[in-house]
Amino acid sequence: MTAPQKPNSFRNGPDETGHFGMFGGRFVAETLMPNILELEAAYEAAKADPEFERELRSYATHYVGRPSPLYYAERLTEHVRETAGAGQGAKIYLKRDELNHTGAHKVNNVLGQILLARRMGKKRIIAETGAGQHGVATATLCARFGLECIVYMGAVDVERQKPNVFRMEMLGATVVPCQSGSKTLKDAMNEALRDWVTNVETTFYCIGTVAGPHPYPAMVRDFQCVIGEEVRWQMQEAEGRGPDSLIAAIGGGSNAIGLFHPFLDDENVEIYGVEAAGRGIDTGEHAASITGGKPGVLHGNRTYLLMDGDGQITEAHSISAGLDYPGIGPEHSWLADVGRVTYTSATDKEALDAFQLMSKLEGIIPALEPSHAIAKAVEIAAGKPRDHIMVINLCGRGDKDIFTVAEHLRGGL
């Protein structure tokens, strides 16, 4: 394998066959192929239609509540500066996508896909979910537009994310617990793909992250890019200039790519993705595909995956159900290989500490997923000068996680 070439722009992918360098592609059963091609054509047509853009913006404003604030985290910044060396300690901003309707960035993508499903005349929507945030967002928009909604969720996740299961049911969705394999997100995705193969004519598969076969990684990214695009003008308003670094947690990678992508060609902007190191990378019990995996093929694309020597997919582990996936979106794999984005990881313990730190210092209870980003942000910010401006993607609120955190801190509520 030759070293990947540095492209003229980091924002041109994927190519017409859905590849980011060697990653991505369309590794699906023939039954799905015509549907995937139909979806690609429908998405291209929607992108070119100003009416689609207008509709998307209108719902984003009035239903989701965009733009989300870009907020200067003054006390977190002070905290970092207390422990940093003289003149050190970056100025930290939070991109507050946890304030979106339904409590996470997931809704940005779901809104786009549901509007697309409506244009395609599909009335049955399926989705996979890990933490339940994507499931809740999908159930919400299906309720709003009167669409049938079936959400696949691993049985383990059904257990640890009960509030979200109840929410989805209140919203009229059917939640199907998946008993196969590790009973988490990857198995939910297998089940959703099996449903799609079976009901391919009537059904729209609303994937929750930048994974799956082409065109999903590109399409979901495009719908999430609103995060980074807002940061660009908001930072201009706040500071009269752009940010110096960006940092986000990575499960499949959708909140991260949404923040990163608009800045990929801004050479001076440092970009960090934080994977879940679970109980520690050396323990093998983690969900850090780039740090601890290798390239393979699963769920329709080639990307970094956790697997054994025979190519059997291994179980991921993270305290955060939303990061508990043995893969990562293919564009991240490519950005790692070409060196544009630095990928690091945070353990369960570090995330729990950051969860509490953010709650106490800023009065914002973050989800466990962005808590991974917060943990590494605090470390990285301590090594930067005071005029360095960093943005953390606070992509979800922690309401769904209070039971999990209470369990770890004091054995339950």
């Binding site: 059963a29 192929m33 193969v197 190519g311």
Partner: protein, 275 residues
């Protein structure tokens, strides 16, 4: 390249009948029992054998084949072991075509070139890889053809006349028509629709067309054999094997559980005289 496959279809045609294609999982419930099952298939009436390559995440398979793959993995089956299984089968049977069927990642990790060379040397005739549509031909299909292994493509109810030529372009050996939109072992197909789909495919190719997914009994096999050149049965056999297990391990009747059903299916196929 497809000599063994061609000969088998020619033989069935000479006998005025369709061929019976049987699927079992390598290594289920353990490597030795799986070998014994596969060795017993031709005498029971199987013309062609598909050997499943176990994978943790078989996205086109139903619960029976998922469970079968997990039993095999638990018993230590891996890709090298599956190739070895074929080699040992081939030592005693020079004529029955063997098709490996599975998903791409284990092959990709084994290394495409090495896999093709080892599979060919072991006596494998063809490959069916569910998650490699024509759009990904460069990954395995084209190298396989170059290495002298047939790449057998799945055509499905969603493969329309516009797409069929692309699906058939690099197909060799035979075409596998998936009778339903769905996963293995789910619904029983509408036999009338299957017959017209087979006719449609035959307008595009001279290759034999076999039909699988949802075939469970001799009567189903007979219904499919009316129009198709072959009938594929997988889930029903894997389920028969599962029912024969004692505490998850091979039981005294495991081989016979599979061969008994194969006998019934073979009789179903043979009950339909073809011109």
């Amino acid at each position: 390249m497809t000599a063994r496959i061609d000969a088998r279809f020619a033989k069935a045609r000479a006998e005025g009948r369709a061929a019976l294609v049987t699927y079992v999982m390598a290594g289920d419930p353990d490597p030795e029992t799986a070998l014994a099952v596969i060795r017993a298939l031709p005498a029971a009436g199987a013309d062609i054998i598909e050997v499943g390559l176990p994978f943790t995440d078989p996205m086109a398979d139903g619960p029976a084949i998922q469970a079968s793959g997990l039993r095999a993995l638990k018993a230590g089956q891996d890709t090298a072991g599956t190739i070895d299984l074929v080699r040992r089968f081939r030592d005693g049977d020079a004529h029955t075509p063997i098709i490996l069927m599975g998903y791409f990642n284990p092959i990709y990790q084994y290394g495409v070139e090495r896999f093709l060379a080892d599979a060919k040397a072991a006596g494998v005739d063809g490959l069916i890889v569910v998650d490699l549509p024509p759009e990904e031909d460069a990954e395995l299909c084209l190298p396989a053809l170059e290495a002298g292994l047939a790449f057998i493509r799945l055509a499905t109810p969603t493969t329309d006349d516009k797409r069929l030529p692309a699906v058939l372009a690099n197909t060799a050996g035979f075409v596998y028509y998936v009778s339903i939109t769905g996963i293995t072992g789910a619904a029983t197909p509408d036999f009338g629709k299957v017959a017209s789909a087979v006719e449609r495919i035959k307008r595009h190719t001279d290759l034999p067309v076999v039909v699988g997914f949802g075939v469970k009994t001799g009567a189903h096999a007979a219904a499919i054999a009316q129009g198709a050149d072959g009938v594929v049965v997988g889930t029903a056999l894997v389920s028969a094997l599962e029912r024969s297990l004692v505490d998850g391990a091979a039981g005294p009747g495991t081989v016979e559980a599979v061969t008994g059903l194969v006998g019934e299916l073979a009789a179903g196929v043979r009950s339909v005289a073809k011109g």
